[in-house]
Symmetry: D2
Subunit: 393 residues, 4 copies
């Protein structure tokens, strides 16, 4: 079981994650993780804060000489600005300051509800943890999951498909190629024309003091049929993936395959017909069975079906706008216009990287559940045995 907890406040000394359940023998290096951390910080439409920060990970347990040991992995992403926050965010009672509390909850954030729930007077005690900053360390966890999956030929990637209502056209090419194209794009988008339009909209929104959301699509290639299970509600792979994606800050919708569009078409144009071609086995396919379409997005009956897994998530616009939103001060109970604390206009590309991460984690979890094992060598043996079983079916 791949389980993990994250910890850390936005302006605390560091973000920390502990991952439990990794097998021994996974090749893992900090710079592989750092690549995803850097991707998360890119993207057209980010404010200045992103530019000064360059996140890097430190691996503080569970890895020795480039390979996992089987023991828990500790990942740390340090806050480069910590020295400016040492007293404000200090654990020491002696550092308590009167005054300076944040009392103005921002619409669209956890601020008001968090303060009510936890009984805090200082909204900072909520916003420090609810911030999307936490996703940095989740991206690191996801990079570890990707490293594990890579040992078994499973790869995770994606691209941005919409920004502010502008939809990209998806070229008919293998996903790996699309990932390369997207990697060249400042908006992780595969459609250069749409990208230009998106950028114009971002520029306009920025000038207008507004913000933009969008839609990201994640694909997982090389997943064998049979991860997840139909037998109990909480073992369904799509259910777990939906949970993972919806747990990402600012995500408001999740789709598998053609998603909501499936609700609008007749059944004859939704379900993927089944075919068989023994020749595919020679080309590395897991089974001779295949589908010519993949509207299901690689999951049927709560299980991966061997096709590419395709997921989409809708991100709402960043809730902190220059153009102010009305709110109420929790101390004075007076109305005010909500302050801007950060200045991104569009963080959809970052959301893609986070979405990839949480998807990779769930796939890794389901993979380990299906194949058991404590070392990559053992899992590979189990996996190969299953591949043979399935090839012969």
């Amino acid at each position: 079981m791949f389980r993990y907890l994250t910890a850390g406040e936005s302006h605390g000394p560091q973000l920390t994650a502990i991952i439990e359940g990794l097998p021994a023998g996974t090749r893992l290096a900090a710079d592989g993780i750092d690549r995803d951390l850097a991707r998360r910080q890119q993207g057209y439409g980010r404010g200045d804060r992103m530019k000064i920060e360059t996140d890097t990970v430190a691996i503080l347990s569970g890895v020795r000489w480039g390979e996992t040991l089987g023991s828990p992995v500790t990942l740390v992403v340090r806050n480069r600005d910590w020295e400016n926050w040492q007293e404000k965010m200090s654990p020491l009672a002696a550092h308590r300051q009167e005054g300076g509390a944040v009392t103005r909850p921002r619409p669209g954030h956890a601020d008001l509800t968090g303060a009510l729930k936890y009984g805090h007077d200082d909204v900072r005690n909520i916003l420090e943890r609810s911030s999307a900053r936490e996703t940095a360390v989740r991206v690191a966890v996801g990079a570890v999951a990707k490293a594990l999956l890579r040992e078994f030929g499973v790869t995770v990637g994606g691209f941005v498909t919409e920004v502010g209502g502008i939809a990209a056209h998806q070229p008919e090419r293998p996903f790996e190629e699309l990932w390369s194209i997207a990697a060249q794009s400042e908006l992780f988008c595969c459609d250069r024309e749409a990208e230009l339009e998106m950028k114009r909209l971002i520029d306009f929104s920025q000038a207008d003091g507004d913000t933009l959301g969008g839609v990201v699509e994640v694909q997982v290639i090389g997943v064998p049929p049979g991860l997840g299970s139909h037998v109990q509600w909480d073992r369904k792979l799509d259910a777990r993936l939906a949970m993972a994606l919806m747990s990402v800050q600012a995500i408001k919708g999740v789709e598998v395959g053609i998603g909501f569009d499936a609700a609008r078409r007749p059944g004859s144009r939704v379900h993927d017909e089944l075919f068989r071609d023994e020749g595919r086995l020679g080309q590395g396919a897991a089974t001779a069975y295949y589908r010519q379409t993949n509207r299901a997005g690689g999951i049927e009956g709560g299980m991966s079906n061997g096709e590419v897994i395709v997921l989409r998530a809708a991100m709402k616009p960043i809730p902190t706008l220059y153009k102010p939103l009305r709110s109420v001060d929790m101390q004075t109970h007076e109305p005010y216009e909500a302050a801007v604390e950060r200045s991104d206009t569009c963080a959809v590309p970052a959301a893609l990287v986070v979405a990839e991460a949480v998807v990779a984690i769930e796939i890794a979890n389901a993979f380990l559940e299906k194949f058991g094992g404590d070392s990559v060598a053992e899992i590979r043996r189990n996996y190969e045995g299953y591949r043979t079983q399935v090839r012969n079916a």
Copy 2:
């Protein structure tokens, strides 16, 4: 913690659920549960099977003299057709029959993948459990969750908003009224005109041998601010609700609030501004804070914010069509055209009832987590204390 497991095959003797973690003192009667079981079997577009079955629940533990005891509750929904399946689905080795295996996996079902994963030659061993029949007992579990929530003034309802691409217009009325309107409709729809059009489309699809999906919307009224938490990914209320909804057979997309539409609007038209009016407290509101809009769908930062929780789920069309889909026999490896085993054209109204159930379960779970307690009296006391705390904030 409200946890549950379901068990049972579609043509086995019964479906069973065990619910663990219910407090003592919840008023619970079988006929309250049966109402939701009956609702699940209604709806324009169902085939004949639904009409002969009339599901009822038996409560076999955890309830005494109309109240829960605090011990696990066992719910059973018997299969009225069991006598015709006694040997085919018998647990006894002596009843094994040669021949008669289902070897033809249906597209859009768990059939092929399930058979590969579990190593079954007889696809019946998969389809019996993956069938949407299982949702009958989940509806029963959901009815128990509703009964618990009712003790605290929390109610769950909903309606169908789309069938086969035809969208209903949602009148501007309180949700309770809309629920009443929907209850009168054969499609659980609040828009009579759209309903007529939907029915015509269903008739046409049926004649055409095709099937239809749709979209359902569930609302939860009376949820206090602060269920779920922003502090860890797996405690976010929206994440758990997304998991619950996506775990329902045939669901391919989930939205909270305006969902995907949030990705298409500027931030200034997405986030719900905050206001305060002490006068609301006299009218039973949980806090003086309020929003004039509810695009967030009642959840911000992974927590209920005190507004109505609004969720939407997209159901794909039933994958068993008269108009056949191409598939492959797993024994002969020959292509064939997929057989029809049941004959519903549209099961979207049933999906609404199931969606309500799984939403109620997660809200109940989050409610118990927040307020602790082992009896309704204790939880009520804790809940009232929190209400006072929040009123005064």
Copy 3:
């Protein structure tokens, strides 16, 4: 993952269990389960109730034609006396009776605390669930776990080692032989002389109105090295086994291997030295490594080490005595002398059967975690691969 929930009151219509996570292809028959149910009801020192009841199990899901399907298994043990309790334990509000509440909590039971915790006026609402009657269905769950383990050559058995302070001498013979000897004994004991003495003590206690506890020892043979893990506190096999054993009604102590005695010896007489003999591989041993002693009881570092797993559990005497214990009526607050509701003098043999069951469940759980897989065939392949890996180490 082998997870399960049980439900049911002592005098309710039935006990129910749902087991989730069983692989497909486990051979399973009700009469195999019934054998353990019958064993649980035997034993010198039981009262009359045990004699009239003959528990049998019904398998109501997850098994077809003698094999598990991979879907959840429902087990039911019906209450043969239900017709006499139908109204007293009815779920219907209409059956509520004034008067007749149990208001006298028995010392040594859950009665008083349960009533305080759940806010019940009628102690029956607690005692019905806290009763050791629940262990009947846990024994059934354990029998399923044993059936799974048997597919992999793992067997679970045990014997009674103490009753009321009289210790049995353990002959130096293979455990399988000891199990056979114990099976012939009315006290599941391997020492005929001690058994005679124990029976005399039971007779004396019965005459004296007193009750007796004892110690049971469970062994698991054929467990490969490497179940459980040292890497995280909650994955340690001994920790999980201790939880399982301590969760059995009336158990107050648990030991692994020589247990408390290990605390009293010098290290040089506690730790099991390691040896190697390639010849053992030809005789079916999992590895060439072995130990000449097994004071560790087959678990080191939170993992099975390949030796026989040996566990001991201490059962307190039955708390319902003819010789009355002082207590207080919860309604009148008057002292009284606690009533006898059942009449066993000694239930240690039954505790052995329950202990075997919960141990089998945890071993099965750890086995599935280690080897993954969804069918017995797949698990066997994974297991054989691991055996080869370990043989060659």
Copy 4:
């Protein structure tokens, strides 16, 4: 829910723990935690390593200005000797060294089994994590649990009751006094005479190259009746406590109350009779009900009953002896005599501190489950409400 994961190798840069589920408003300071870290390092019979190390904790998230925020708490205990191990335990592939692998598994450790399970050639990859060094950070987690419990008047303490078979006599005094006496003792023992004898035995064992185990007893004072539950096997408080204690390195036996002794006495001398005295309420008792004896150790029916919780754990002697144990080299397959890597003779006092920690964690967990709530203020309100309920029963 108080859940936690620990991570870190014995000679890695640090041990890390993340605690999830702490309410806001718990007063918490590093020096409070450090006190228990220091206690863990004390005790007659420790080798030199313990003397140079002085563990201190750093709190890196979840606490601000002396109070918990409700967000996850990160605890770090740094390895003061890390600079000497930087390359040997480096995460970098570039630091891999040929040669230097540990190939000699020590009897009584995880070494051999761990290497087989995880497929490691270098036993260091196991022993670094299985080492009792990990308990340092568990003690830190336990100190946080104690801080939470202290807010509600619940205190955890204990003493050593046996070393190497020498049993201490327990004076008849309140436990708080005994804790003070034990705190003065180099063996955390309340019996000066026995302590002298234990020290002599330790000196003798050290001279003889042998090691010693012992028994520790932990008490929890101020626990209200009703933590845990009888309704499901995995909710029983004694089961969870047994798991927690057995998960501690080197523990081989666990008892609740009089434990194994309960199996040896007649029922009339085991069960604690119930009494009632309204006068007790004026003195701060939770209920008017009480027992004159506490053989049950404060837990009946899987629930705390309001009496002091009393638990005992048996620790085996340290498995690394000067007096060598026979073993086998995993590379050469040649026998050898097991090397000494550390040099404690007796670590029973340290085990007491760890046992207190894991007990505090489980009690805190059960407390939060019973009373819900997100802030100390809210939990206190819920708790007081329950106390009133129980007083009036």
